[in-house]
Structure formats: C-alpha cells, structure tokens
Symmetry: C2
Subunit: 135 residues, 2 copies
C-alpha cells in the first residue's frame, strides 16, 4: 500500500504520515522504485497517533500506545505505560488550565480597572452602563 492510500484511510495527510515516520514512530518498507510500502497494521498505528493527537497527546508521546498495539494488544491503552501517559497528560492539562484561568482572571481585573478609569465618576451611569452578558 502506498502513502496516499494510508493517508486517506487514516484520515490524515501524506505529509503527516511522513512526519510520523521522521519521528521514528513508523518503520516503513520501501518498494523497488523508492516508494514507501505500508501494510494494514500501519494504518491502525497512524489512526492511533491521530486520535491521541486530537486528545492533546503530542505525537512524540504516543510510543507507549504504538508499542502496545505492535505487541499484539487490541487497544493501544491496554498497557500500563499507556495508562500512565493518560495520567501524565491529564496532570499537564490541569496545570495548563490553572495557568490559563489565572491569566484570564488577571486580564479581567486589568480590563475592569481600565474601563473604570476610562469612565470616571459618572454619577448616573447605571442607565448607560451595559448590563448584557460580559465576555
């Protein structure tokens, strides 16, 4: 099977498949004319990389799942290393979410203070102040 068919069946671009290979995630045979030659199991591997990518797991961190599949397991997460990767990714996401939430809160304060300085001391501002949903 050539790269175009693999890409289509896995739902990614041929460029992405070559990129995964460049990361060492796929060991690809070559035809006599230099074309890459894939088999069915590698379509599954590309799908695994892709679906983990959608979950925010970087391609470089998918090796446990790929090894798990290559070892004969039906699912990439049927190995303890894969589950550990899940947990590590969850922790990283939590850290990231906390950071972004703190930034958002800081920005809201800055914005509110700026708006207050911009509309200073309007005694009857209740009528003109927007009460709509805040962003």
């Amino acid at each position: 099977m050539r790269i175009g068919e693999v890409a289509e069946r896995a739902g990614v671009s041929a460029k992405a498949v070559r990129y995964y290979e460049s990361l060492g995630l796929l060991a690809v045979d070559r035809h006599t004319n230099g074309y890459r030659d894939y088999d069915e199991s590698q379509v599954e591997l590309v799908r695994e990389i892709r679906s983990l990518g959608r979950l925010g797991i970087p391609a470089d961190d998918t090796r446990p799942f790929l090894d798990c599949l290559v070892s004969g397991n039906l699912r990439g997460d049927d190995c303890s290393e894969s589950v550990a990767t899940y947990s590590a990714t969850i922790d990283e996401l939590s850290t990231r979410i906390d950071e972004l939430s703190a930034r958002r809160e800081a920005l809201r304060q800055l914005r509110d203070h700026a708006v207050m300085r911009g509309e200073p001391l309007c005694e009857f501002s209740k009528e003109t102040t927007s009460v709509s949903h805040d962003s």
Copy 2:
C-alpha cells in the same frame, strides 16, 4: 543606551529585544559603529511587551498598548483599542480553557475505562482499590 542595558532594565534578554524589533514593535536608532541606540521610553515599551506577554498576549498583539504609550498616555491600557485587546484575549482564553477541559474529561474517561478493563471483575476490589486523591 545599548541593548544590554535595555535588556537588563526591562528584565528580558538582548535576544528578545532584537526579536521585538524584528516584529516592528520598536523603531531603533543606530550608533555610528552599528550598535543599536535606545532611549528611556523604549525601556518602558519593552517592559510593556514583556508584562503583556506574561498575561498570554502575544507580542504581535501588543501594538495597541505600545501605540497608546507612544501617544503620551501614562498606561498602555488607557486606550479603547487596548481594552478591546484585553477582551479579545479573554475570549480566546475562555475558548482554550473549554477545549482543554473537554480533552481532560475525555482522557479521564479513557483512563478509567482502561483501568477497569485492566482489573476486570475483582469482586473484593474495594479493599485494594486506591481511595487516594485522583490526579
């Protein structure tokens, strides 16, 4: 003033200062020997870029704040364009936080299902199952 002093006083690296210039955020004079020559106000601009960066506002999006300062305002957010940038950044952060939260929830489900498959049908598993704080 040369770049090293600007960098030190603004709390960034000289590389960062050159990078800001390459983005068109700073208009920098040159000495006769080719060295960049800065004045006090540009230290303030670099500080503004840096502090906005810490809030998650990309350097490229700091122009309203810099223009506001250059126009003579004491604060970079004393202009409506700056406040609009605050709001836009808040919205982007909210979108990003929602995405990450959804990913985290999906990962938790996958992890929990994987763990259940890995420890199948343990009738007296209550004693051995960890009750500690989940990650």
